[in-house]
């Protein structure tokens, strides 16, 4: 444990980005609830419940972006299907929240969720069993996407599907899941998905305290994800993973089982995405199959690219930045947003290959050089 802390400290000393990131995160975790609870409603500094949820949403997106950065930035696997793991985690959580509604639904059925009553189903499908317990749902949040990633990754990496091909089949995966979840017969609410949640573990989702607790959970999950990823990439295995990114064949010829390194980092990344999804759903209050759409997954990649791939905190910053811009522009200039997003894709890939963080550190390095030359 001490060695771990030492290593983390050493890693954090190397550049200021991570420190800054954790400081901002800690400040947000403290300030947001304070401004929400303690500042009176009329004040300019007061944050509404909507804002608290919004910040939590950005944070869950940041976890998702970090998950993508972990495999793309450090292992060179461009997954265009990470939205699928996010959505699966969200659906698992959504199933618990649906069961938690109980008899307070529109149709008042004590067991069946509304959409099943509506579709004239008589009994609960077997895969809904157990979702009335939060612990089971939380287990499934990890188990289902984790298992999918394990099986999918095992076959893909074992047969050495890589590069563009892997991107395409991950995209096909999320596309197939989207089509499947759109079907009413699947038992996941069809195109309406799940919504109208009432409470979680007995606490009303509308209550300010629940809101703040969920917000804090998200903040802790973000910090935890960051430290975990950081630990992983700076570990010995993390070095191998980066070696695979830079020269896969060379790593293989050196005797490393490349496919297993890829597999476990892929599964870890899928788990992080699933956690993000599970945090996202109770706060946003809806999950539907459009979360699986291939375009969503590609958008995650651009968050990472804008922030700076291979830095983790850059990915998180990119997610927050793009989504803040999205919230702002879709309200202010709706048609402008897609132009802006499209332009971002082009500009970042052409002119900022290492993202904002990369550009900033390059600037800092140049500055440092100048100082050194001057002295």
């Amino acid at each position: 444990m001490a060695a771990l802390i030492d290593r983390l400290q050493a890693a954090l000393r190397r550049d200021t980005g991570p420190v800054l990131f954790l400081l901002v995160l800690a400040a947000a975790a403290v300030l947001v609830p304070l401004l929400y609870f303690l500042v009176p409603e009329g004040s300019a500094l007061h944050l509404s419940g909507y804002t608290v949820t919004l910040v939590a949403k950005y944070m869950s997106y940041a976890i998702l972006a970090m998950a993508v950065d972990l495999i793309w930035g450090y292992c060179g696997i461009l997954s265009l299907g990470h939205g699928a793991f996010f959505a699966l985690g969200g659906y698992a959580m959504g199933m618990y929240l649906m069961r938690a509604i109980g008899s307070r639904g529109v149709y008042g059925d004590p067991v069946l969720p509304d959409f099943m009553v509506f579709l004239n189903w008589k009994e609960l499908p077997w895969f809904w069993y157990g979702f009335d317990h939060l612990w089971f749902a939380l287990l499934m949040v990890l188990a289902v996407p984790g298992l999918l990633a394990l099986v999918f990754g095992y076959f893909a990496f074992r047969s050495r599907v890589s590069g563009v091909y892997l991107s395409i089949i991950t995209q096909a995966l999320t596309y197939a899941l989207m089509l499947a979840f759109f079907r009413n017969d699947m038992g996941f609410g069809g195109n309406n998905g799940f919504t109208d949640f009432k409470d979680i573990a007995g606490f009303s989702l509308q209550a300010p305290a629940t809101r703040v607790v969920l917000f804090l959970c998200t903040a802790f999950a973000l910090a935890g994800s960051y430290l975990l990823c950081r630990f992983v990439v700076s570990s010995r295995a993390g070095r191998v993973i980066q070696a695979v990114r830079d020269a896969e064949n060379r790593a293989r010829f050196l005797g490393y089982r490349v496919e297993y390194y890829k597999l476990w980092v892929f599964v870890l990344s899928a788990l992080l995405a699933a956690v993000a999804g599970a945090l996202y759903v109770p706060q946003i209050g809806i999950i539907n199959p459009s979360e699986f759409s291939p375009a969503n997954s590609i958008e995650i990649v651009i968050w990472v690219a804008i922030g700076g791939r291979g830095t983790l905190y850059g990915a998180a910053a990119g997610a927050v930045f793009v989504n803040y811009a999205k919230t702002f522009f879709t309200a202010a200039l709706p048609s402008f947003w897609l132009y802006a997003l499209g332009t971002l894709f082009i500009v970042v890939t052409l002119f900022l290959p290492r993202g904002i963080v990369g550009a900033l550190s390059a600037m800092a390095a140049r500055g440092g050089l100048r100082r050194r030359v001057a002295s």
Binding site: S159, G163, V164, Y165, A172, L179, G342, F345
Partner: protein, 562 residues
């Protein structure tokens, strides 16, 4: 529309129309006859032809029912082409007569001003004009009379439709008319229809030998009516339910039924195959441009779907520009769409892709940005709603090969069109200087450059060609789906899968892969439903790529090393 060209030769015009549109042939026939009459009637009068029709028509309004029946028979016997619309109008209650005016007026089926029944010229009916009355008996007589007209029509298609129509409600009078026609009929298909229809009627005969002969005559006939009747006769194998009392006839019916059943299954499979091929062709058409940019150049173009969308919108604009010539607009749209999408492609290549060669994942992201820009631009220019692209008449309708097998023309043309595009592309790549240079650059860029090939130019043109084909695919898609800003998105995943399935860099693989996927999809659809079939195909593809990461036809040799 028909009348414009049909004035001097209405029969010829009718025959092409009716052959293309058997389902609608009757109404077209009526329209053509009406409008044809419009032009022919004054000519006939000018020639000073004596008019037998006029006295008959004049008596029609005032006559009682018995006399009317007499008049109808006489009108039918005149074989005067002008009499048919009068009879048809009388049947439908559209024949008007005023109390003071001796003339009769026809109210056109589609609405509009009335015409003079005799001359066919537009003429205002008197204010007190009322439909000439008919009763059920007269209606029957009218149908027989109309059928006699149509049975003697010089056009084979009209005669076939007439036989079909008449057999819908066979009564002794109609059957007699049909029987009289059998020895006179010269066309083999009409003969077949006639005999089958009469045999069908003979199944009701009280005489077992007649029924037996009828069953024999019906053997191998694929008409659903025949199938239903034979099934009823045999009671679906249950003798107690069987409508047929004679055991020998019943056995004959059962064996006839079995052979019909087998044929129907066969044709149903053929139909599924053809639909699969046409769906596969759409995939091929969408993927083939991608196969060039992705396979030959190694560039991932996520905006490929949007280039197809541009092609579809180009079709829409061409149609807006030439509303008078919808039939030709699709032909004109093909080169226009090729140019529009091709130029857009060249712009993308020069502006973005050029700077990202060797970084396929970055290209993917940048071109996805382009696709967002194009979608939003189209949304702002044309609105987010779908635009309707008109299907020209020569693409509508279906080709009926027999009663069990018919192919809609748009599906047929898509298959032909795809193969045409593919063949042209192969010729360009294999037989032209440009194609040679494209292949050279794809195989070894540095060496090609050393040999004096301007690789930058070739890159731009290759990308433009792939994009242009996407535009052409958009023209075809505009005939099959809605033209909207999201048109491209729904095809992008599919087309990538086709290219990867077929084997990157192999156009034949794309052709075979696309068609195979289309057929498999169509075969699964009746079993699993459309969405589930698609999911199965996607899952199959994901698994397939695990087994053979380089597709059906992997590249071999030095070019294969990526």
């Amino acid at each position: 529309m028909i009348a414009c060209g049909a004035g001097p030769a209405p029969v010829a015009a009718r025959s092409t129309r009716a052959a293309a549109l058997p389902g609608r042939a009757r109404s077209w026939w009526l329209l053509a006859a009406l409008l044809g009459g419009l032009i022919l009637a004054p000519l006939a009068r000018a020639a000073g032809e004596s008019d037998a029709l006029q006295p008959l028509l004049q008596r029609l309004a005032a006559a009682d029912y018995d006399e009317k029946r007499e008049l109808i028979a006489q009108l039918a016997q005149t074989r005067d082409p002008r009499a048919r619309p009068v009879l048809a109008a009388l049947l439908d209650g559209r024949l008007l007569a005023g109390s003071a005016d001796p003339r009769l007026f026809i109210e056109p089926q589609a609405g509009g001003s009335t015409v003079d029944a005799l001359s066919g010229a537009p003429a205002a009916a008197p204010p007190d004009a009322a439909p000439v009355g008919v009763n059920n008996q007269l209606r029957k007589a009218l149908r027989v009379a109309l059928a006699q007209f149509d049975l003697a029509d010089p056009d084979v298609a009209v005669r076939r439709t007439a036989v079909k129509e008449m057999l819908r409600a066979p009564d002794p009078a109609i059957l007699a008319a049909l029987r009289a026609r059998v020895p006179l009929e010269t066309d083999a298909r009409v003969q077949t229809d006639l005999k089958a229809g009469l045999a069908l009627a003979d199944l009701d005969s009280a005489d077992a030998a007649t029924r037996m002969a009828a069953v024999e005559a019906l053997k191998g006939n694929l008409n659903p009516e025949v199938f239903n009747r034979l099934a009823a006769m045999t009671g679906n194998g249950d003798d107690a339910q069987a409508a047929e009392t004679d055991a020998r006839v019943r056995a004959a019916a059962a064996s006839a039924l079995q052979s019909i059943q087998a044929q129907r299954t066969f044709y149903a499979n053929v139909q599924t195959l053809l639909f699969g091929l046409s769906q596969g062709s759409i995939l091929v058409l969408a993927a083939i441009g991608l196969a060039i940019t992705f396979g030959v150049m190694g560039v991932i173009n996520m905006a490929h779907g949007e280039l197809m969308m541009l092609g579809a919108y180009a079709t829409y604009l061409v149609q807006q520009a030439m509303p008078q010539h919808i039939g030709a607009s699709i032909i004109v749209a093909i080169p226009v769409a090729f140019l529009v999408a091709g130029l857009a492609g060249i712009a993308i290549e020069r502006g973005i892709v050029r700077h990202l060669y060797g970084r396929p994942l970055e290209t993917l992201l940048a071109t996805f940005g382009v696709s967002l820009l194009l979608q939003q631009a189209v949304r702002d220019i044309f609105s987010a709603n779908n635009r309707s692209v008109i299907t020209p008449e020569w693409l509508a309708g279906s080709l009926e090969i027999n009663d069990a097998l018919s192919i809609t023309y748009n599906h047929l043309y898509i298959v032909i069109f795809t193969f045409g595009v593919f063949a042209l592309l192969q010729i360009v790549l294999r037989r032209t200087r440009f194609g040679l240079e494209v292949r050279a650059v794809a195989q070894n860029r540095a060496m090609a450059k050393a040999m004096g090939i301007r690789t930058g130019l070739i890159d731009a043109l290759t990308f433009g060609m792939g994009s242009g084909i996407a535009g052409v695919a958009g023209v075809a898609l505009s005939q099959l789906t809605n033209v909207g800003p999201n048109l491209g998105q729904s095809y992008i995943v599919d087309s990538f899968m086709v290219v990867v399935f077929g084997g990157v860099g192999n156009l034949w693989g794309t052709l075979l892969g696309g068609n195979a996927l289309g057929v498999v999809n169509k075969l699964l659809e009746p079993v699993a439903g459309a969405v589930l079939a698609k999911i199965f195909v996607l899952v199959f593809l994901i698994l397939f790529i695990q087994r053979r990461p380089r597709g059906l036809f992997p590249q071999k040799g030095r070019a294969a090393e990526s």
